[in-house]
Amino acid sequence: MIRVVLPAHLRTLARVDGEVTLAVAGPVTQRSVLDALETRYPMLRGTIRDQATQQRRAFLRFFACEQDLSNEPPDAPLPERVVTGAEPYLVVGAMAGG
């Protein structure tokens, strides 16, 4: 199972506490994880990626295993420790006031 950590506002929106765990069929990539996340929690559609372009929203970042994956290709494999569930995949709100 893939572990996903969401920012607080998206946990509230999805009505979940703590981490989300997802079963992802096929290659575990950022795209497949986010697709699975949006399938399970359709209210998150458009909040992480633009619905038309599928581009990451500008004020969000994607981290895993202490790496910034935000600008990595969406179909690149995620680190093995994310695939095995040893480490979570983090969706993080960028540091910006307001």
């Binding site: 506002h9 619905q51 004020f59």
Partner: protein, 371 residues
């Protein structure tokens, strides 16, 4: 027993204020969607517990929320608002062409007859409609693709369709106002549009009487007289007696005719309210005094309403969607400020009192009169 429900959108959440018909004691519910910008909330006229809300943030984009129990619980509904067909360009602040791009929903206007139909006015300016209670949205592209659209430019707040007025007597008629393009009218349910800005004069554009380019801040109508429209423009308070075919200035003796909201008394169609703001570069009330101005003559002659409002050291603004009236007798009038106060008057504006003083900056105020 009758009562009122005031729907308040703020920079950091929504609040719902409720009272009985006396409108003296209030319950405050919220924040709903704490931390999110709530540009607008509005209830259906035919199913008052059906509410729609625009929820957005710079981080997570746009959401639409719907409640079917008067705001006790909410459900995130469809938020896929995509322009239809060719995107086209408008002018950017520097005069260069810029493709239309979705930014946010400024205003939600429920249908007057069907609780499942709701219109959305968005930035960059376009009109969307849902006929399934917000689950899916389609653009009515005739407005955005009007031949004049390529020269529309944004106002300081962005190029937004911020006002949508529906007409009970002419169900196919829709008025829309865009900053800074002007007023447009459709007589075929939003399929086609034409600008109705004759009589407006704006010194901030090269041709002050151009067909489009006017920064209209807000429109208001009384439902019994849909051909009479009132407008708060960037500068100037205007009225039309022919459904927007022509406009004349009614600023009269206002201390300044810059401002954002305008509204009409529920039972006196010639009684209107504005909140003058010092200038377009000083977005606060003049002289440190928060004054609503009322005209009982449909404009030109105005009186300041000050009883219960701060008359010194006050420097707040009142945004375009932040004033509303109830339909009780006497008529209640409500407005919210950028300082987080929501004021109410249960007697048509003669006396005011804060309902709540310390909310986040208020973006919108809508009132529902409940049976």
């Amino acid at each position: 027993m009758s009562g009122v429900r005031v729907l308040v959108g703020t920079r950091k959440g929504a609040f719902i204020l409720t009272s009985d018909g006396k409108r003296q004691k209030w319950d405050v519910s919220g924040p709903h969607f704490g931390g999110w910008e709530m540009y607008h909330l509005k209830g259906s006229a035919v199913a008052p517990n059906r509410l729609y809300a625009s929820q957005s943030s710079s981080w997570f984009g746009q959401l639409i929320q719907r409640s079917d129990d008067g705001g006790k619980t909410w459900e995130a509904v469809g938020n896929k608002l995509e322009y239809e067909g060719a995107i086209g360009t408008h002018l950017w602040y520097d005069g260069t062409p810029r493709p239309w791009a979705f930014a946010r929903v400024w205003h939600l206007e429920p249908s007057l007859s069907d609780p499942d139909t709701v219109y959305a006015g968005i930035q960059d300016a376009a009109l969307f409609r849902s006929t399934d209670a917000g689950q899916t949205w389609e653009e009515l592209p005739g407005l955005r693709t009007h031949p004049s659209a390529s020269v529309w430019q944004p106002g300081a707040g962005g190029m937004c369709l911020h006002t949508i007025l529906l007409d009970r007597q002419h169900p196919q008629r829709i008025f829309g106002a865009i900053s800074a393009a002007g007023v447009f009218r459709s007589d075929d349910g939003g399929q086609s549009w034409r600008p109705i800005n004759k009589g407006l004069r704006s010194e901030q554009i090269p041709d002050p009487t151009a067909e489009v380019g006017h920064c209209v801040h807000r429109l208001a109508m009384h439902p019994s007289r849909p051909n009479v429209l009132f407008m708060q423009k960037h500068w100037d308070v205007m009225r039309s007696d022919d459904a927007g075919e022509s406009w004349r200035e009614v600023s009269g003796n206002l201390p300044t005719d810059f401002g954002f909201p305008i509204d009409v008394h529920a039972h006196e169609p010639e009684t209107i309210y504005v909140v003058p703001i010092k200038s377009d570069s000083e977005h606060y009330v003049p002289e440190g005094k928060l004054r609503v101005f009322r005209s009982r003559t449909g404009g030109d002659e105005w009186e300041p309403l000050t009883n219960g409002l701060p008359q010194r050291d006050c420097y707040v603004n009142v945004l375009r969607d932040s004033m509303s009236v109830d339909s009780l007798d006497p008529c209640g009038v409500y407005f919210g400020t950028t300082g987080g106060q929501v004021y109410g008057s249960a007697d048509g504006g003669d006396r005011w009192a804060p309902i709540v003083r310390d909310l986040p900056s208020v973006l919108s105020v809508e009132v529902q009169t409940l049976a």
